[in-house]
């Protein structure tokens, strides 16, 4: 997704003008740069998706709408579709209700630790779905510390908390995930709204509530609408969280595609479901695109203008309530996850962590857990290299020449982001096992799928930075005696360099945490960390659960540190989307 709004990013007039002849680029260069991205997209996106379409519409080579009809008429499938729809709507509504006050507090209130907290609330959004699933399983499942407490208080016969296979667990996990989206997008606009507009309404006699309802809310509506759409899209295509928390009874379309593929071995059904999914995603993206275009532009001010300390008791209570929500909803699950990783059958200990570094092959994983870590890092690095290459070339081409082809490729590279990971993984599985591209069983499939998902982030990170380089900086360097290649090294590279680092960090974090696509194409002997966690969670026993918790904690640390590092680098509006 593009940064939904970034008012401060306005192109300078000088950068908009065509570069001066002495510093210009030859005409064929952008076209040459585009060949790699175009081939990548054709092989790893267009081919798999068209295979899904073919399999869904014509499973035996002939057009046959029976499978598609089954999707519409089969009560089981309809139940899944209905559940997917309403849980997404409920998740969106709940996220807005909980997130909007948070957006206000974090964009308009000044309190100690405000900046740190803003960085902190972003962390859940970038965590792998499997980690979030594990964390909520730890908090709300039968092994919750809450149950330990209940047992300690009331003895063995105490009532126990177990929200597995409930909608509640799924909804709460979705709010956890998307809280940051509301805070970043709506809060981003809120911070820049001119507070004098509200002051004017107050002076004219409106109560605070009236001001909110009649002034603030309408001004925020574009941001709220696009945020709601994007949260709906994310929760509609939710896979890892639902797979772990929902069990067999609470399945989204994504989970059902996985089940049809791996358990029912009904590929036509999976394809038909994927088509249904694609249609819904395209619709949601169309709404999102429309909202983006009509986004209102009002007078915006610097982000610190409207910020002030809470003054009244009510304001302090409001702040306190929101901090409590953040603590309970965002921090507690992660703390419990870490705490549970130290719980062994014999009390607290390092046994779970020791098995991670041990060389003992796990019978079910077929490998030692540390090998999953090694695989993840190896795949992650490979995916990062591919994503940087493809995304970097596309971004460079798009900014060298603003023509229709570059724009088209630029937008086409956004498609994988809209398409669900499960669809991509499933597409890889059914398309890349035959000529022209037979990669059956190849370990390359994993990093390629991960790279496809990471490329949009790379492009979105690099394009604005490349566009923002003022042509006059290059001219200044030239008049100061820098030769053409030196200009690139001294001006372009240092400015883009940070953005490349950010893009690399993002790609790596995405690749390491990727689950939906990897789970389809990963080989049994080469599991990634998310896949290993999922397998461990599927097995009984305190030790397995503890190991899953330890591995999840490790994965959380890897991704969170990558993201926090990026946040420190602060290039433009990265992290907003």
């Amino acid at each position: 997704m593009t940064s939904s709004r970034a008012p401060e990013r306005t192109g300078s007039p000088a950068s908009a003008r065509a570069s001066a002849p002495p510093l210009a680029v030859r005409r064929w260069v952008p076209a040459a740069l585009l060949t790699v991205p175009v081939l990548f997209l054709a092989a790893f996106f267009v081919l798999p998706v068209s295979r899904i379409v073919a399999l869904g519409l014509a499973p035996d080579g002939q057009l046959e709408l029976g499978v598609l009809g089954r999707v519409v008429t089969d009560p089981a499938v309809r139940r899944v579709a209905w559940f997917t729809l309403w849980q997404a709507a409920a998740s969106t509504l709940l996220t807005l209700v909980i997130g909007l006050p948070g957006a206000y507090v974090l964009s308009r209130m000044d309190f100690p630790g405000r900046n740190a907290l803003r960085a902190l609330v972003t962390v859940p959004f970038v965590l792998p779905t499997v980690v979030v699933g594990s964390a909520f399983l730890a908090l709300l499942g039968p092994r919750s510390p809450v149950n330990d407490l209940l047992v300690a208080l009331f003895g063995d016969g105490a009532p126990t908390l177990d929200l597995r296979r409930t909608v509640t667990a799924i909804l709460v996990a979705h709010v956890f995930f998307n809280y940051a989206v509301v805070v970043r997008t709506v809060g981003g606009l809120w911070a820049h709204l001119d507070p004098r507009i509200e002051d004017a309404a107050r002076v004219l006699g409106a109560s605070r509530w009236r001001v909110f309802r009649e002034i603030t809310l309408p001004l925020l509506r574009p941001a709220i609408a696009s945020t709601a759409t994007i949260v709906f899209l994310f929760t509609f295509t939710s896979f890892g969280v639902v797979l772990i928390l929902g069990g067999a009874t609470r399945a989204t379309i994504e989970v059902e595609i996985h089940r049809a593929t791996t358990q029912l071995l009904d590929l036509p059904l999976a394809s038909a479901l994927a088509l249904l999914q694609l249609a819904a995603v395209v619709a949601a993206l169309a709404v999102y695109g429309r909202l983006q275009r009509t986004a209102a532009t009002h007078r915006l001010v610097g982000a610190t203008v409207g910020v002030r300390r809470p003054r009244t008791r009510g304001e302090r209570a409001f702040l306190g309530a929101n901090l409590a929500v953040i603590a309970g909803l965002l921090v507690a699950p992660l703390l419990v996850l870490v705490e549970r990783s130290f719980v062994t059958p014999t009390g607290y200990g390092l046994a779970n962590w020791r098995t991670l570094v041990g060389t003992q092959p796990d019978t079910l994983l077929a490998v030692a857990p540390w090998e999953a870590v090694r695989n993840s890092i190896g795949f992650g690095i490979a995916a990062t290299v591919v994503a940087l290459l493809v995304g970097g070339l596309a971004a460079t081409a798009a900014t060298l020449r603003d023509d229709r082809v570059s724009g088209l490729v630029d937008r086409a590279l956004m498609l994988p982001l809209g398409t669900s990971a499960v669809t991509i993984g499933f597409g890889f599985l059914i398309a890349l096992n035959r000529p022209p591209l037979d990669l059956r069983g190849s370990p390359l499939l994993v990093p390629l799928a991960q790279a496809l998902i990471a490329v949009p982030f790379v492009v979105r990170t690099l394009v604005p930075v490349l566009r923002s380089i003022d042509q006059r900086l290059r001219e200044a360097a030239a008049t100061l005696g820098a030769r053409p290649l030196r200009v690139w090294r001294e001006v372009d590279l240092p400015i883009v360099g940070r953005a490349v680092l950010v893009a690399a960090g993002f790609s790596f974090a995405i690749a390491v945490g990727e689950f939906g696509a990897s789970v389809f194409v990963v080989r049994a002997q080469l599991p990634t960390m998310p896949v290993a966690i999922f397998r461990l969670l599927g097995r009984p026993g305190v030790a397995n659960f503890g190991q899953a918790m330890a591995l999840s904690t490790l994965l959380m640390l890897v991704t969170a540190s990558a993201i926090l590092l990026i946040d420190r680098l602060r290039v433009g509006q990265v992290g907003r989307f």
Partner: protein, 373 residues
């Protein structure tokens, strides 16, 4: 005349069909401050960019210190350019910005440090040397840009609207600062601006450009006293213009007959310089030989009597239609024979609005200018 530092011959720069600069000739002597003045879009920035090597001329040559540099890249020319809005490297500190040029020249580290220190001292930014340039105020950024442009010890320093984004008071202060620094360094300066006050304040020579060509050049005083065309006059803020019919060196105007020695017969456009019109003191006896303008040297002139400055026409009847307070004087807006004129009153408050006054026109400060097309 000192050695010629910059010579531009027959320069033409075209963007597709649009001609930004056409057949332009310009020279700047060693140590001279040449200010190119013109409205936006007149091609003055393009001229600067062509001299810097950032635009490729369609035709014509550019010579620096007598050497043809037309085909050299910007980095081979050793000219300093201070960009409009500065174009500082945002990813570098103040000192790193200034150090950039000397580094490109491959100077030894000691020389670079010495030069950077000296320049930061000169622009009074030494305490901010290690700050990020993005954290500086507009005025400070401007001084960094100046230091950076001077750090290569350029053969020619070019300033593109150096005060562009600064407010008036700060601009005036920095203008004086630039003048001081340029005088210290002694470099040749090509300065581009659209602001006539700025141009007249700093220039040794002002070059007025319009539509890609030079329309007039001269010292600030020459330009101000004798603008050649109506365009130049208006651009300098001189707007008391009248139509006239000249016969036998006398112009018939709405203000009556004015002597115009040396003028050809026919239609003409007259410019009255700001000091051309004065109030005739109503208290003075006779035909008003004393004025309230406070210009003592002229108070002895009697209307109707010939003197070195020419013949003063008889006083005019006029009505005050407005007054504008301008600090050290009051500007009276008057109408005489349907012509709006402005008369400065230096002492006292002068007549009130709607009061009838009498005006004298000094023919020695009436000019004939080429009318605007």
């Amino acid at each position: 005349m000192a050695e010629v530092q910059l010579e531009v011959r027959e320069l033409t720069v075209q963007y597709g069909d649009a001609v930004a600069v056409r057949h332009l000739d310009l020279t700047a002597a060693d140590g001279e401050v040449v200010v190119v003045l013109g409205p936006s879009g007149c091609g003055k920035s393009t001229l600067l960019r062509a001299v810097a090597g950032l635009e490729r001329p369609t035709s014509g040559r550019i010579l620096l210190e007598g050497r043809d540099v037309t085909d050299l890249r910007p980095d081979q020319r050793r000219v300093g350019l201070m960009f409009q809005d500065h174009a500082l490297f945002p990813h570098r500190t103040v000192a790193e910005n200034v150090r950039f040029g000397p580094r490109m020249q491959g100077l030894p580290a000691g020389r670079i440090r010495e030069r950077v220190d000296r320049l930061l001292e000169l622009v009074r930014l030494a305490p901010l040397a290690h700050r990020q340039v993005t954290s500086l105020s507009g005025g400070e950024q401007q001084r960094v840009a100046l230091a950076r442009a001077l750090a290569t010890e350029p053969r020619l320093l070019m300033l593109d609207e150096p005060l562009g984004s600064l407010d008036r008071a700060l601009g005036d202060e920095l203008l004086a600062e630039i003048a001081r620094i340029v005088a210290t360094v002694g470099t040749t300066v090509l300065h581009v601006t659209h602001d006539q006050d700025e141009a007249l304040a700093v220039a040794d020579r002002v070059v007025v450009m319009r539509a890609g060509a030079i329309v007039q050049q001269g010292t600030p005083d020459e330009l101000w006293r004798s603008p050649r065309t109506e365009f130049v006059a208006r651009f300098l803020g001189l707007d008391q213009l009248l139509d006239a019919e000249v016969r036998d060196e006398v112009a018939a105007t709405a203000l009556g007959a004015l002597p115009v020695p040396g003028a050809a017969d026919g239609r003409a456009r007259l410019l009255l310089l700001p000091d051309a019109v004065r109030l005739v003191d109503p208290d003075a006896a006779g035909t008003g030989d004393a004025t309230r303008t406070g210009d003592a040297t002229r108070t002895g002139d009697a209307a109707g009597t010939g003197d070195a400055a020419g013949t003063w026409p008889p006083p005019l009847q006029a009505r005050v239609v407005g007054r504008r307070f301008a600090g050290d004087h009051v500007r009276l807006q008057v109408r005489a024979g349907g012509v709006p004129l402005t008369v400065p009153v230096w002492h006292g408050t002068g007549p009130a609005v709607d009061e009838e006054v009498r005006l004298a026109v000094d023919p020695s400060v009436v000019r004939i200018v080429e009318p605007d097309a």
